[in-house]
């Protein structure tokens, strides 16, 4: 399983044709306490860069963009009642959604983990 990152602080983990998407630990630390998430409907087709979900802290609302194109295959419904999971485990139990990958070629435009960590250093 390979994990990729975006400049907008989403991560995407690839397992066969399925991509799991979330926001990075850095993103959750910037947001502060997450109080609400809005997840997409199953079956929704997303193009790379589309608004896939919304994540809200008390003082901010942020859109989560689809890092790659695909069809929504599953969502982490538990987040609706337990948004704190995003703060506790952004890159694990706090995942947002799963996509059926439309085009693996899009992954080449994303960062690997070490590139992303270096990118964070520049912020």
């Amino acid at each position: 399983m390979a994990t990729y990152f975006t400049k907008d602080h989403e991560w995407v983990r690839i397992d066969g044709d399925i991509a799991t998407v979330g926001i990075t630990d850095y993103a959750q630390s910037q947001l502060g306490d997450v109080v609400y998430v809005e997840l997409p409907e199953i079956g929704k087709e997303l193009k790379k860069g589309d608004e896939a979900a919304v994540v809200e802290s008390v003082k901010a609302a942020s859109e989560v963009f689809a890092p790659i194109s695909g069809t929504v295959e599953g969502v982490n419904a538990g987040l609706v009642d337990q948004p704190a999971a995003i703060n506790e485990s952004a890159e694990g139990a706090g995942w947002f959604l799963r996509l059926i990958v439309a085009d693996k070629g899009e992954l080449s435009g994303l960062m690997d983990e070490s590139t992303y960590r270096n990118f964070l250093e520049t912020l």
Partner: protein, 447 residues
Amino acid sequence: MRYLPHSEADRQAMLAAIGVGSIDDLFLDIPANLRVHGLTLPKAAGELSVERTLGRMAARNVPAGSVPFFVGAGAYRHHVPASVDHLIQRSEFLTSYTPYQPEITQGTLQYLFEFQTQVAHLTGMEVANASMYDGSTATAEAVLMAHRVTRRKKAVLSGGLHPHYRAVVATTSAMASDAVDALDADPLGTEDILSRIDGETSCVVVQSPSVYGHLIDLAPIAEKAHQVGALLVAVFTEAVSLGIVEPPGAQGADIVVGEGQSIGNPLTFGGPYVGLFAARMKHVRQMPGRLCGETVDAEGRRGFVLTLSTREQHIRRDKATSNICTNSGLCALAFTIHMTLLGETGLARLARINHANAVELAEMLVEVPGVSLLNESFFNEFTLRLPREAAGVVEALAAKGILGGVPVSRLEPGRPDLADLLIVASTEVNTVDDRIAFAAALQEVLA
């Protein structure tokens, strides 16, 4: 000037501390050719002088309390206990800002929480916000909210909706490229609104009591709306009616909006008033306006904060549920104090008095030759058909020292077929002598 503390010496000392030679040096960013040197306006005036000037203007008006008074149609004269106006003028309420620093605005926040609860209970709904500008803008906001919830764009407006409210919704909708299907004016309270609700409908907007006074059975309208996935937006302009009339929430309304002026607030020629806005909890994130919520502080003590603010413009900007910022906080305070003084016992009794007075007045007025009552049902307001144009009758009554209602032509000027209709309201402020005087004067005017 009595409101400005600085002496000239203060100003000079402050300019020196800043490091500039004159006040004009602080305005250098204004292009020199555009700097103004004096306004063509009177000079400063003392309190006595200002009181004289404005007192003279006020004296040209006929106050409602000085005559037998039967004007309603969206604003109502009620008796407000003296303690209400005293309490809202407490400095700490009157001169406080929006409670953005909750540690030092718990007073405002707690009364907003109590206000929200009272409005929810009064309307039979689950949640209410901390107020809108007035009933008309609350109605326009309710329509926009329904569009967000249903992802549809057509509002069906009852012909019993106050024509000003209809105009406000129509203006907003036209500007936002949303559709409005407004039914014809409905002075008889017999419109067939069910047939206008279809799969495109986002919401159906119904006022009860209607502007003509009819009590509308909302349940079948709610049922039809829900069948096609639309919402029922229930509107009221007379909050006192909810003391004895079945609340919209119990009749299936999804959003309830209304004018709260008649509890706690004076007429003041139309504003400031207080818009009430209540909804179902499942739609709370689509609501406009501020919401106050309960929480705890660092010592574990109960406290209140503004919450779910990501809906609002200061955070969500172009994706906010509304652009509203300033609301009607102090009018909401007047509402909640008056409501607290009334309690359910007082409110229900006040409502019965209003209803009884209106029933008695209606019975008197239909005895006047040529006058007929259009209402089967009503609360404290009803519509009469006169043998002449109502506007002239109202002027003639005013000349006799009686403010005798609102001619429908004032609200529907393009409708000569409605020109003989008069909307009459009676509240607890009317005495039996007032009613007798009104009936006698109407008989004289029509004779």
